[in-house]
Symmetry: C2
DNA sequence: TATTGTTATACTCTATAACTATA
DNA sequence: TATAGTTATAGAGTATAACAATA
């Protein structure tokens, strides 16, 4: 499909995959330094400005609710997040950051920026703007959050 | 750092992280459909054109050699890869794909391309070329492979 | 009956520590 | 002594199945 350039297409894809591995690698490493998995890091990121239910988190991350349940257990034991029964639906459980969890999240995301900035700074302001534009285009349908 | 545009920088970073999650998510899902973890997928990808030692794999992926050892065990039991004592250094073990493993790897990477292509195809040929260029720039120092 | 969340179970991933064999 | 790899162990991540409470 798309005449003339299957090889170039593959190279573009390889470059994208490589950058993706680099980015998630940095996230994983910084998470690990704080005893958090990549998934926990994502959950914490989501909880910065939301108070989702267990099932919402599971759907959003593409994981089973039992997986999220266990993950919350462990983070709750460490005092980083908490549960609250929903007022609307007594079956549902809302998850949110504790003050300690919020502090940790802020610290970690600051660190992430500091680590990934050098990668961005090889680009000029113009190039960064263009990259941003292109990333938004290819990212349009995967509901932009977390 | 870098006058005028800290907010825009953050948005660029967010877009990059989001695309990274999308890409690794697709890889994870396709891996899972074939009972392979993301790490195993990466190992298989490396083995397409190399015959590394256990320690080389571990270093490359930032994991402990014992982790790689177990991962090889499981894939070996399933007939996808094999070990061979090195002729140069009798302590070392080389890892390589079996024919079945090579077939599986080809099939999976074809599938990966098919799944990620739609994302690319929202861009014009020109835009794809520009994105490729920019990705290569920011990916320059993270030794380009796997 | 269907949905929300938890628990029990099992397997993989991961690191640390102790070990064997080779250098 | 140092290095390559394996094994034992333990904890976290993950999914499936069975369950209790609520809708």
């Amino acid at each position: 499909m798309s005449s003339g350039g299957a090889l170039a297409e593959d190279e573009l894809l390889d470059a994208l995959v490589q950058v993706a591995f680099h980015v998630t690698g940095v996230l994983s490493r910084i998470g690990a330094e704080n005893d958090l998995s990549l998934t926990q890091l994502r959950v914490f990121g989501i909880l910065r400005d939301r108070r989702p239910r267990v099932t919402e988190l599971a759907t959003h991350l593409g994981l089973d609710k039992s997986t999220i349940s266990g993950l919350i257990d462990r983070a709750e034991k460490r005092g980083f997040l908490a549960r609250a029964r929903s007022a609307d639906d007594r079956r549902a459980v809302e998850v949110f950051l504790t003050p300690a969890g919020r502090e940790l999240t802020t610290r970690i995301y600051t660190e992430v920026r500091r680590e990934l900035d050098p990668m961005m700074n090889v680009l000029s302001a113009d190039q960064r703007a263009r990259l941003h534009e292109l990333l938004l285009l290819i990212g349009l349908d995967h509901h932009a959050d977390d």
